[in-house]
Amino acid sequence: MAVRSGAFVGVAMAMALVGTAHAAPRAKLATPEEVEAYVARRPDPLKPLARNLYTGGERNAVLNFNRIGLAAMEIGDYQTAEASFDAALVRIEAVFTKDNRAKAAKSIFGKESNKDWRGEPYERAMAYYYRGLLYLRAGDYGNARASFKSAEYQDSVSEYEEFQADFGVMNYLIGWATRCMGDDPRAEFEYATKAQADLVEPPKDHNLLMIAELGAGPTKAREGGNKEKLVFRATEGFPETMAFFSLPPEMQSAAPSPRGRRGAAAAVPAPAQGRALQGQTAASILYQATTRGGRPIDGILKGKANLKTGTTAVAGGLLAGGAMVGGDTGAYMALGGLALGLLGGAMKAEADIRYWDQLPDLISIATARVPGDPDVDVSFSGPFGQLTLPPVPMMQARAGKCSIAWTRSRSALRVDDAPGDDVGVRMAVARKDAARNVGFRAELEGGK
């Protein structure tokens, strides 16, 4: 009786503790009303992406901020674009000493996609690149330069030395920003032209930078027996490989002639007025994605995959052996095999394939000297000639010494949620992250 009453007291004490711990208000998921109230304050084209951001929490925050940032650039909502990329970059730059989500991703029973997405180096570099373009637009050349430097720095983590710091367009843009600041950019242009053979240093008197982004960037896929290997694949179905920038007749000067281009040469389409400048191919995002080499997580995933394969093989052996041996011994072997089979089945080695789906394949650049505000038109062509593509708005601005014109061959507006995401993991993490995401949503609401 003494033991029973002791246990009763113990359980009662524990229940009291439970009661205390649970008395505090529990963190909860966002209600549909809260989601709609947040989304309603966004411009229509950004509403689907804003919904993803609000409900996706910290786990997908960088991806969602990047997607909103780029879509906002397209619709001319530059304030939102700047704030979105700033929010993404703050997270990209954060270094965590204790990260529960990373721990879950590394666990043998957790998928890599448990972690907060920060993107592969090429995706992080592109977030800095877009922030840099927005600084150029505002005439803040110092911070534009800093952004492009950070973008170039992301490329320095390549496993193979020959591919380190080969993102020549970033050096080119560092050079451009440096020149707009009034400093000597020769060293940066030299780096750029070495890294990317198609690039040439713009003449000193050029003050307009024109950028067109072509096609669609790489997608991610899983390979390997346990889907543990992350691979990048080219996105097919986008024939554009060249951009032509048309300037009104009064806008004189031209970009230097490109020294060669990817793919067959195409006829320069005749502009409606003025002259057309053929852009120089400044970067291939697919090339950047595929030359990065291994990631630190790859070793962990490989280990998990090997363990899973080994465990499953032993389980199969025990089950087969148990059936052959029979009797009590066979039954025990079969039971052991079953248990190991369950264990092997529970191990998760799949690579995370969430990716930034709005990125282009190619970046094309030209420069010119213009007397006033830029007024640029862009056309695209591929190996078989000029293409007619749905128009995408262009960002054009003059601030300080330089001007910028930027556009894309394809729209960055999206309605779907984080591409490549694992819905099961997303829902499980959303529950575990409920408290953290209360703070996240408060931050979003603070930004109105």
């Binding site: 002791g6 229940m15 110092g142 952004s147 720095y153 440096t178």
Partner: protein
């Protein structure tokens, strides 16, 4: 207390304090802006800017040729002339505002600062007075806005490094100022370079 009691208590307590339940949204904390805690990462932060401004003010005040001039020299100081050539994105107005506030408060009239970034606003007000749309105020009119003797020009630079094996990232940053004579181009004062070298090791699996 016997073993069963301990086990029951431990089990229930473990459930009660499981990570998902133990996590609560906590209110933001106040951090001393002059402490190292106010700076994240390897770049410079508000603690550095405050400290650098304090050093510069003390240093500049040791210069009798500037501080004890018969007529207080006029200086222009604005964020547009603090050149960010580093790899850190930063609002240079934070630096210029901190410096200007510390200098004006400490100088007590021995240095005069001109607000060139507001010159358009001032021109509009001057125009209203001269057109008679407003009276002349209480201090009368001047023939022109004040001319400057010096401009305080800053430069922020950095050197970045990364250890590919350990993932450690290092950034050395340098912030320094020159006081340039706007007639002769002579640099009449240069601050001691404010240098930080910071390293952090990323535990992020993506790096």
């Amino acid at each position: 207390m016997n073993r069963s009691v301990l086990v029951a208590t431990a089990l229930c307590a473990a459930w009660a304090l499981s990570p998902a339940e133990a996590q609560r949204a906590r209110p933001a904390e106040d951090i001393d802006p002059t402490s190292r805690m106010a700076n994240f990462g390897t770049g410079i932060g508000i603690a550095d800017i405050t400290k650098m401004a304090d050093i510069l003010v003390r240093d500049l005040f040791q210069r009798p040729d500037i501080m004890n001039a018969p007529r207080p020299p006029r200086i222009i100081l604005d964020g547009a002339h603090i050149y960010n050539k580093s790899s850190q994105r930063i609002d240079t107005d934070v630096i210029s505002d901190q410096l200007r506030a510390q200098l004006i408060r400490a100088a007590q009239g021995r240095l005069r600062f001109l607000s060139r970034e507001n010159v358009q606003l001032i021109e509009e007000e001057r125009e209203l007075k001269r057109q008679g749309q407003t009276d002349v105020g209480t201090r009368g009119l001047t023939r022109a806005v004040a001319g400057a003797d010096y401009r305080l020009i800053g430069r922020l630079t950095s050197i970045d490094g990364r250890d590919g094996r350990t993932g450690a990232e290092q950034r050395a940053m340098q912030l320094m100022f020159e006081l340039v004579d706007l007639e002769s181009t002579e640099t009449v004062y240069i601050s001691e370079p404010y240098v930080t070298v910071r390293q952090q090791t990323a535990r992020d699996m993506n790096r």
